[in-house]
């Protein structure tokens, strides 16, 4: 089921009756009406159940050849949903097809209005403060400082304004180093491991070619090395396979030559590039989209797609990073080609392994904001937000989320959030409903004035925090195991069904432990508060008994009113939670699905849209 967004002032552009929605894996189908609005494609069933698809989620629309029952239309979405409609008249089908193909000029975020005033919006944007995050890590300190060299995006336009560098790295060194690095992305601090004073830095590949050197760059690495007294050397992790790095040398790029840099240890990690990842995911989706797939074909397909192999490669790299920092106490410099895809994956996942803070809901937001948004992962290009170059599209961020999920499966007690949190983030990376992931870097976001014109996803997620909690999270476990040491034996990696088949209800477990435990916890909380309230009443009564008769009546009334208020609050809370769970999951067998409340108020939404 889909999150039905009650849109304000949307008018229906197109309405087609008598449309059949086919289930992807069984022969079931439902009849209904299809509405096309400026932002959504909405399918309303006879029973007034509805589904809606955001235009931004639509990756491709395909019109199949005419059949006896009508004209089939297959829509593939970026959140791995595949919808198969059969429209009775071919003309209608063509209308839908052509209007879906129209490219939209503006992203949804600019028109999306969750009824907040400017102040609330501003507060939403202030939830995450990266300056405070670096302070939490213990930076600036005696070895690391904030530099204002990029304050006007002059040195590197894909970096944020505020950057942290070693205290000994002077401005000429930084500028010199940035000229020697692809896209000007010179080495900067991304995570500081306070306990050992070891730093994780990131950059892009050096423009070394076959023999070029840059003294400033060499002294930059020297400065990073010197900032850490625990270790005599710095690890330089090139996250590419060696072959790719070698090929880059011919184009005047390449990797650090160990002879030119003193005290570095160079290491290739071997994560494939964005094109390989894109094809791999395509293959995977092709395999799992097959009807009546046999177990052998599934496993063979899973293997040949290589998807889990890539996931494992990323986790392996992150473990290497975490070990180097936490065990050896060495600083690490991570780069790939441009330092915004594989580097972001490895740095953020490494930090997640090292620091329990990033495994909380707030901390995970901070982590994404820091390593992905602010350091310039090209969300607009990679997620194809506005018809861009198809060669730039790649599921890099999806892969990161999956790596995190694999870790949550291995360490069920270590994460404050559950799988639904990851899925929700993934949903909105593509939805363009919030401003966070728009654009390719901070500079573009500032040019678009996103903070004034759009809302922040983090505020929305924070307001719904209840839904994303992992009931098994134990802060004590995090304290005992601050650094996670996952096993990367291949059998610990699983196929993430809830991501790639989130909307194929027939495949999900029909009952969810997570949901049950959360409901029980909620009920328990309510029972507890009722108990407390009752006890309070009891105490009050006893006190009042000593007082005059007149006063007693008043007091009783007062307590009653607070009591009712409390229950109303409680029940409304659970209801909204339940609703959103129904939407996210909706994985019950048909009988019990009926018990679930229908999604929001449909009649309301439809009435709004037709007017």
């Amino acid at each position: 089921m889909f999150l039905l967004v009650v849109c304000v002032c949307v008018c229906v552009c197109l309405q087609v009756e008598q449309v059949r929605l086919l289930d992807r894996f069984s022969n079931k189908s439902t009849n209904g009406t299809l509405y096309l609005t400026a932002t959504h494609l909405i399918f309303v069933e006879r029973s007034l159940q509805s589904d809606s698809i955001l235009h931004h989620h639509i990756a491709s629309v395909e019109k199949l050849s005419l059949t006896t029952t009508g004209c089939p239309l297959v829509i593939q979405c970026r959140n791995f949903r595949v919808v198969h409609f059969v429209v009775q008249r071919e003309r209608d089908c063509h209308d839908i097809y052509s209007s879906l193909l129209l490219s939209y000029e503006e992203v949804y975020a600019f028109s999306y209005n969750p009824k907040q005033n400017d102040q609330q919006r501003e507060e939403g944007w202030q939830i995450i403060d990266l300056g405070a995050e670096f302070e939490r890590m213990g930076v600036p300190c005696d070895q690391w400082q904030l530099t204002n060299v990029n304050i006007d995006y002059k040195v590197c336009e894909t970096y944020p304004r505020d950057l942290y560098v070693p205290i000994t790295a002077s401005k000429p060194i930084i500028v010199g180093s940035s000229k020697f690095r692809s896209k000007g992305r010179f080495p900067v601090l991304t995570y500081f491991y306070q306990e050992k004073k070891a730093a994780v830095c990131r950059c892009s590949q050096p423009l070394s070619g076959f023999s070029a050197r840059c003294l400033e760059d060499e002294s930059m690495l020297q400065a990073i090395s010197k900032a850490n007294h625990n270790s005599r050397f710095v690890y330089v992790m090139d996250t590419r396979p060696k072959l790719n790095a070698l090929a880059n040398r011919a184009a005047g790029k390449g990797y650090e030559n160990e002879d030119n840099y003193s005290n570095i240890r160079f290491q290739f990690v071997g994560i494939e590039n964005i094109h390989v990842m894109r094809t791999s995911l395509q293959k995977l989706l092709e395999v799992i989209g097959t009807r009546s797939l046999s177990m052998s074909d599934f496993l063979v397909g899973l293997e040949s797609s290589g998807w889990l192999r890539h996931i494992k490669a990323v986790v392996d790299a992150a473990i290497f990073l975490a070990k180097a920092v936490t065990v050896e106490g060495a600083s690490v410099l991570v780069h790939c080609s441009d330092g915004w895809d594989r580097t972001a994956q490895v740095c953020s996942l490494g930090a997640l392994l090292m620091d329990p803070y990033y495994r909380t809901i707030k901390g995970f937001m901070v982590l994404i904001e820091k390593d992905w948004i602010s350091f310039g992962h090209k969300f607009a290009d990679r997620c194809d937000q506005l018809d861009g170059d198809p060669k730039e599209v790649s599921p890099i961020f999806t892969q990161f989320l999956e790596c995190v999920w694999q870790l949550t499966e291995q360490f069920p007690q270590a994460f404050e959030f559950s799988e639904w949190f990851l899925l929700q983030i993934h949903e909105h990376v593509h939805s363009c409903q919030y401003g966070n992931f728009l654009g390719n870097n901070q500079r573009q976001r500032e040019d678009l004035r996103l903070r004034e014109r759009t809302h922040s996803l983090w505020a929305f997620l924070m307001s719904e925090k209840q839904n994303y909690l992992n009931p098994f999270y134990s802060p004590a476990y995090s304290e005992a195991h601050p650094v996670l040491e996952p096993s990367t034996l291949p059998y610990h990696f699983k196929f993430w069904r809830n991501m790639y088949h989130q909307f194929d209800r027939s495949m999900h477990p029909r009952q969810s432990i997570l949901k049950t435990v959360l409901t029980m916890r909620e009920n328990n909380r309510k029972a507890e508060s009722t108990l407390q309230a009752l006890e309070k009443v009891k105490v009050q009564r006893q006190e009042e008994d000593d007082d005059d008769d007149e006063q007693e009546e008043v007091g009783e009334e007062a307590t009653e009113s607070t009591d009712t208020e409390r229950t109303v609050e409680g029940s409304s809370g659970t209801e909204s939670r339940k609703q959103s769970y129904g939407e996210l999951e909706g994985t019950y067998n048909s009988e019990s699905a009926k018990e679930e409340p229908a999604v929001v108020s449909l009649e309301f939404g439809v009435a709004r849209m037709t007017c």
């Binding site: 899973l302 293997e303 034996l489 059998y491 088949h501 477990p509 049950t516 435990v517 029980m520 019990s592």
Partner: protein
């Protein structure tokens, strides 16, 4: 790693038992067979063990190295059935540190395969330990009890004691439920027409629509299409009042044809006009055994290569077998619950895949079977009493490279399928994963008599009911019950239809990767759920 295993005191405790008297002889029939089995084992253990054996003899006892012991360890790492062996080797090793025990003893311990273990534990079980605080009653269910509980059955079905001397069918219990108007003489004739005398008997009555599941073995029609009037009458009587019944044959039609060349066969359409035959091929016997061996081997593989693992997993075909078993059981349940037709199930002998799918179908449809007692009673009825040859099938686990023709992990496959059901309906089953794990262990080596022998008859001859304890009774003691019940259990009357998409099925990590720290994390979470529920339950009470 070592410490973790060492702390697993449950295994250490159990491991003590067989060390007591491995050389004791037993005069009974089974005992002799078991002793013979052990003889075979010691000469034909799997390679790594033999190596160790040699090493032991070659090196002086005093220079026994840690490495050698570790090697045994590694080989058996992540292999379920050998957990007992692991425990023993470990235990002996610990003793070594202080004072060297006889090295021969270590050899014996490490080279004992499950066959020997089970024979030894037979002796142990026969000795009936006095500390076990168990009720005297043996077993939870019997055909008599089953029949008397089902009042609805009594119009059209009766309890026949034609097999009370085990003469008609050696693998059936003394009492079976058959159609009312089929008398014992007819049954004897039908028994001659079915392989091993396993004539069609009722195993499940669906209360909602009065349809039944029956099971049997293949009819002996042979190449010249022999007929048996009584068999036809029996089947007709079973679906009296309904126009159609289904026969689910767990072989492919090709295999069924082949079987008819060698004396077996299938019901022809002309003679059984109101029955529709469906063929669903399910692997059994050797193929299943090979599959388990490959899977266990893959799980023990320490190579860090994803492709290699996935191809090995695929190559083992174990998950394919799980998928087939669940979908065939789904088909069976669909015939009964949705179409409202009675079904007869058989494979060739009717002792393996037949029991597998009839059990799964009952779990899918019958809410009572999903409770802890109900499930154990179901296992007792459908596996122990119905004559699944546990001793032949569960002797070696994954370590009998084509040595024993009879070895086959059908029961393990059942537990895996039940686990898949539990994963998809975590609230609908009254028991926990821990119970399935315990059963998987007990089936291979046990202090209890329940899984010993191959049939009711053998158990009767050995007097197991007098001389051993019943595992199922033991599992229902209050302390065990706490541990094996599902804290989140919410009874539901509805059928639980599992999804059999390959994306919905998973490797049973809790079993096949039991010894990894990740499995321990999952166990901790299970424990956490239990504690939470208990805490909240207390609060609700207060």
């Amino acid at each position: 790693m070592w410490r973790m295993l060492c702390s697993d005191s449950r295994y250490n405790r159990r491991a003590e038992a067989p060390c007591a008297s491995p050389a004791t002889t037993c005069s009974s029939r089974t005992g002799r067979r078991a002793a013979l089995g052990r003889f075979c084992c010691s000469s034909g253990t799997s390679m790594p063990l033999r190596k160790v054996w040699k090493t032991f003899w070659a090196t002086p006892a005093s220079s026994l190295m840690q490495a050698t012991v570790k090697k045994v360890w590694k080989t058996f790492w992540a292999t379920p059935a050998s957990s007992l062996m692991q425990a023993t080797v470990k235990k002996e090793y610990l003793n070594l540190q202080g004072r060297l025990l006889s090295s021969v003893k270590i050899c014996t311990c490490s080279s004992l395969t499950s066959q020997a273990w089970s024979s030894v534990s037979t002796l142990h079980a026969l000795s009936r330990p006095s500390d076990a605080n168990l009720p005297d009653q043996w077993g939870l269910s019997s055909p008599e009890k089953h029949y008397s509980q089902m009042k609805e059955l009594h119009d059209r079905w009766r309890l026949s004691t034609v097999n009370r001397e085990y003469l008609v069918c050696p693998s059936y219990p003394p009492a079976v439920i058959v159609p009312k108007n089929i008398d014992d003489d007819m049954l004897e004739k039908v028994a001659k027409f079915r392989q091993g005398g396993r004539f069609p008997v009722l195993c499940y009555y669906h209360k909602k629509n009065g349809t039944v599941i029956m099971r049997s073995s293949q009819p002996l029609t042979g190449a010249n299409r022999k007929r048996c009037r009584e068999d036809e009458q029996l089947l007709q009587a079973a679906i009296e009042g309904s126009d159609k019944g289904y026969i689910i044959d767990t072989r492919s039609s090709q295999q069924a044809l082949q079987a008819s060349m060698t004396g077996g066969g299938f019901e022809s359409k002309s003679c059984y006009s109101s029955w529709k035959r469906l063929h669903r091929q399910m692997e059994r016997g050797k193929a299943l055994q090979e599959s388990l061996i490959k899977l266990v081997e893959a799980c023990g593989d320490e190579y860090h290569n994803m492709d290699r693992w996935l191809s090995k997993l695929e190559n083992s075909k174990w998950l394919s077998h799980v998928q087939t078993a669940l979908s065939t059981a789904g088909l069976l349940a669909e015939c009964v619950e949705r179409d409202g037709h009675s079904v007869l199930v058989y494979g060739s002998e009717g002792k393996d895949s037949t029991l597998l799918i009839s059990t799964l179908a009952q779990l899918i449809m019958d809410p009572y079977c999903r409770t802890l007692e109900g499930f154990l009673a179901l296992l007792e009825r459908e596996w122990v009493q119905a004559g699944h040859p546990f001793q032949q099938r569960c002797a070696h686990s994954a370590y009998s490279h084509a040595r024993l023709q009879q070895e086959s992990p059908v029961f393990l496959l059942l537990l895996d399928c039940v686990w898949q059901l539990w994963r998809q309906f975590p609230l609908a089953l009254g028991f926990s994963e821990a119970l399935l794990l315990r059963l998987a262990t007990e089936a291979y080596a046990s202090n209890y008599g329940t899984f010993l022998c191959n049939s009711d008859q053998e158990r009767c001859v050995l007097g197991l009911k007098e001389n051993t304890h019943c595992l199922f009774q033991a599992l229902l003691r209050p302390r065990e019950r706490d541990c094996y019940s599902n804290p989140l259990y919410e009874p539901t009357e509805l059928a639980i239809w599992p999804s059999v998409h390959p994306q919905s099925l998973q490797l049973w990590r809790g079993f096949f990767l039991r010894r990894t720290p990740q499995a321990r994390h999952l166990e901790e979470v299970q424990e956490e759920i239990r504690n939470m529920v208990i805490k909240w339950g207390k609060l609700a009470l207060s």
